[in-house]
Symmetry: C2
């Protein structure tokens, strides 16, 4: 490369860092094209174009970083074809299978602003006003859960060295942060012992005289809790999964017995976790009873409300989460039912000094006495996502969320009734919030299964469930491939109290405000059509049902 | 609320979720205003407006979520005044204090697209083409570090159940992921023992017969490593900080001795960490020697190249990181020297099966045999940040990065020389990459300190350093408050080999391509002016220097 060329390249490079001034600049034109393409994509009614992953992968084979720079416009065009066209329409009203849903459009320009400002929330020196803003959002979420009086927030919201919670990239990090803090509070410094944070788990257990630690949670607890136990050195086996009753809520009596058994083995239960909106069925544990148990056991009470926590914004339905205000810590994901883009998890602490158990400092930032947010978070450098939560809280407001959440819950109740009204569908779990599970079961199979239950013919019932497994899975996959609508699937026990079995069911989350009753009817229609044409499991099911 | 009002509100709410079609829609107008304001802000040459945090906090006092929705336009106007105006100009060419720097403008429209698509990378069902794209980016970064042959990437890049690395929200999560995996690999399932992930640390150590675990790293290691040790249950005391030699590189002989001492106490060193670009001085540990030591100790070798890793993109300077290709895992943050917005950390694994040690599954996603990325990440739901890394790799290209990185490094060498050429400044650490430290020391004080060193008058030397502490801190704070330029400060030992002391120094990171030589000269000018007017430490320093 000659010096002259280098200079030209250098100049070209500097240009990409220079504020584009003219409204008709290349970048403005590209931006307009991207916006139009994006809007076009978002308006399509399909949830995904039918193209197998193996074919999509062909566009992403190159493992060498290219040498020559590519024009932004060319790159954007390429991405429209290879990436955007084959991404998932999470905002489509017929995409009702996961918690990722539509966004209000005003977050798009605001997110561009957030990215453009490129603040780093780890410290005030790189975030300034974003720090009090994030503290305010945490204060608002704290008030939503705990409703302390005004003086509480005056005293603590902007106070150095304490925090009402922590922003996290998602609910997993929020759950980890809560249980990490709880572990450290339990095995805190005491006399000669400098605390588990400093000296580790082995010395901590030895000092306090425990043989091991455990966490109690419903069998419906999120998989991030097992990950947490692994990470914290406690081990997945020490996340004790307690059975649920038939309504998918944890059986507190069984949890108490488990705690007693652990105590006899000198294993300390350091936290119990209540689930407020299980990922698979959307049910809420009896939080008040769990709070009582936590008091009895003198342990931390965490509520994983990553998904369901947003329901606190509904005055009509927040009673469903009663007892959450007694939790020591609560996880809420704003990117689920609060309609904020991906990446906005939060953990809220009842006690503002709680997170001191994980406090850390460094020479160049997070100095003692500073208000730097990074001294009490698991993550280090973090973007200003709090701004998008702030924006939704102001622009949607309590009144807006009241409508959004109530209508989601009521739509789920409507859909549940619609399923029950069909001859060939079976509702597996009733919606408590806006999530339900069901499956396609031809009428005559339903009758035959009912008879099997009545005559306690467990073998026959098992056989039915196995065949339904195959049918449900087939329908879910085929529907996803067709791309006009999407429901997810999971494996739960549809024969609770009768059989110990897991079977595949459809899982629906009704969070998108644009999902209409017509769309719900179409989803069932489409599933019926696919099921009726299935050639392996359906004939076997019908055959089995006819053999009375 | 009457039913009629509810309908009107509902309709208004649905509108915010509906794609805005008209180019002159309210949202388009708002977006245009936000863009213009943002560009205006980004063009300002100040790094921060002088307003104390306590005053800024007054705008963020409300702890109740407002009831009534606010118009987006009003909200955006408010935020321009209260938030944007008082955020930090991390992209200002005179903001040279931290690793957060300018962004190329083309990432802004792309990031809006990324947010608008709202993909969730935890699973293919909510990310489809984004999954192969992320795998490709990890493949490219793997190739950048390890340069395996073509067949390696053909075999592994898109293979189910393995991963060439993991995307993370940042370097902290990347470091945690690497060391978590290393711990789990060490204490893996073996005979009756089901592995530390399942059974926990206590049983793992007992099974393998170790009394405790330790990690060895330079005293310059990032604070996230101590956080990692806390989180993993190992304890901060078991991050053994090894002294550095005078050039801020870890002393490998001392590390070897530390390992031997630990072995005598039956404490297993499960990982050694090499730092490739220390946060405080920017130096790179002797990676080849560390790789040798890791082989000797039969332990994991992790390189924390969160900041320095981008230098591998320079063919001219990548030799500075020689030995990194022998690391078992490497952390690289694309949001540092790769010019990607905040939130793009990565950990790269040499062995594609390495991350199996932290693999997890769930019923509704991450099923066995799937290509879902979420089964081998610490985080759960994650945004499609990989797209922005992909974009920078294509649009800037190797040729572009070559120029950007070389010019940063060469600018740092220029600035170091400029500092040395001044009478009243002292370069504390030479730039190896594009980070250096220095302080303001009046000529006569330099002479007096040199004499103190020569005569081994350690008390006098200590006194000088204490006074310089105060002066440097004053200058740094005053300069930050004035808001025309920003350098950070840290505490390191400027008298290495003579005194065991820590003293405050200025810290400069030269990553912004728009930072000119003139700006660097102005920074020194401004610091001189501020220092010359200081009334407490400067007179004492001059007085002390005059007392020979």
């Amino acid at each position: 490369m000659t010096p002259r060329q280098a200079t030209a390249s250098e100049e070209a490079l500097l240009r990409i860092f220079t504020v584009p001034e003219a409204p008709d600049s290349t970048l403005s034109v590209i931006e307009k094209n991207i916006s139009q393409n994006l809007m076009g994509f978002l308006q399509e009614s399909v949830v995904a174009v039918e193209k197998p992953l193996s074919e999509i992968e062909l566009d992403f084979q190159q493992h060498r970083i290219p040498s020559a720079p590519q024009f932004v416009s060319d790159y954007a065009d390429d991405m429209m074809k290879t990436l955007v066209a084959h991404s998932v329409h999470t905002s489509a009203p017929s995409f009702i299978g996961h918690m990722t849903s539509a966004l209000p459009y005003f977050v798009l320009p605001l997110s561009k602003m957030m990215v453009g400002l490129n603040q780093n929330l780890v410290k005030i020196e790189t975030s300034k006003a974003f720090t009090p803003l994030e503290r305010q959002v945490l204060g608002m979420m704290h008030h939503l859960v705990y409703a302390e009086d005004d003086s509480f927030y005056q005293d603590w919201m902007h106070s150095a060295n304490v925090s009402l919670g922590a922003f996290c990239s998602g609910g997993t990090v929020a759950n980890i942060t809560a249980l990490w803090t709880a572990r450290n509070q339990l095995l805190k410094a005491d006399g000669e012992f400098k605390g588990v944070a400093t000296q580790g788990l082995i010395k901590g257990l030895r000092h306090y005289g425990y043989d091991d630690l455990a966490i109690l949670v419903s069998e419906r607890g999120h998989y991030s809790l097992a990950k947490t136990a692994d990470l914290l050195g406690i081990g997945r086996d020490n996340i004790i999964q307690i059975p649920t009753s038939n309504d998918n809520k944890v059986d507190v009596a069984q949890m108490r017995m488990a705690a007693e058994a652990l105590a006899r083995d000198n294993i300390k239960v350091f936290a119990i976790v209540g689930v407020a909106g299980t990922t698979e069925t959307g049910n809420i544990d009896p939080l008040d009873e769990l709070a009582d148990l936590a008091t009895e056991l003198n342990c931390h009470f965490h509520v994983d409300a990553a998904w369901g926590g947003a329901s606190l914004l509904s005055n009509k339905y927040r009673h469903l989460l009663k007892g959450i205000e007694r939790a020591d810590s609560v996880t809420i994901d704003a990117h689920k039912q609060m309609y904020v883009p991906m990446g906005a998890g939060m953990v809220i602490f009842k006690d503002p000094t709680f997170a001191n158990a994980i406090k850390h400092h460094a020479e160049y930032i997070l100095r003692k006495g500073s208000k730097d947010l990074g001294s009490q978070t698991l993550e280090g450098s973090r973007p200003g996502m709090a701004m998008l939560v702030h924006a939704c809280l102001q622009v949607i407001g309590r009144d807006g969320y009241e409508i959004l959440i109530n209508s989601s819950l009521e739509k789920a109740r409507y859909f549940a009734q619609l399923i029950k009204d069909q001859d060939n569908f079976e509702l597996v779990s009733e919606p408590e919030l806006c999530l339900l599970t069901y499956r396609y079961v031809p009428k005559q199979v339903q009758i035959a299964m009912e008879q099997a239950r009545a005559s306690n013919d467990l073998q026959r019932l098992t056989e039915f469930n196995h065949l339904l497994d195959g049918l449900t899975k087939f329908v879910q996959k085929r529907q996803r491939e067709r791309g006009t609508s999407f429901v997810s699937r999971t494996r739960i026990n549809p024969e609770a109290g009768i059989l110990d079995i897991k079977s595949v069911v459809f899982r629906v989350v009704l969070a998108n405000p644009l999902t209409t009753r017509e769309i719900l009817a179409q989803v069932l229609c489409e599933q019926t059509k696919i099921a009726d044409q299935e050639t392996e499991f359906l004939p076997k099911l019908l055959n089995l049902a006819s053999r009375t």
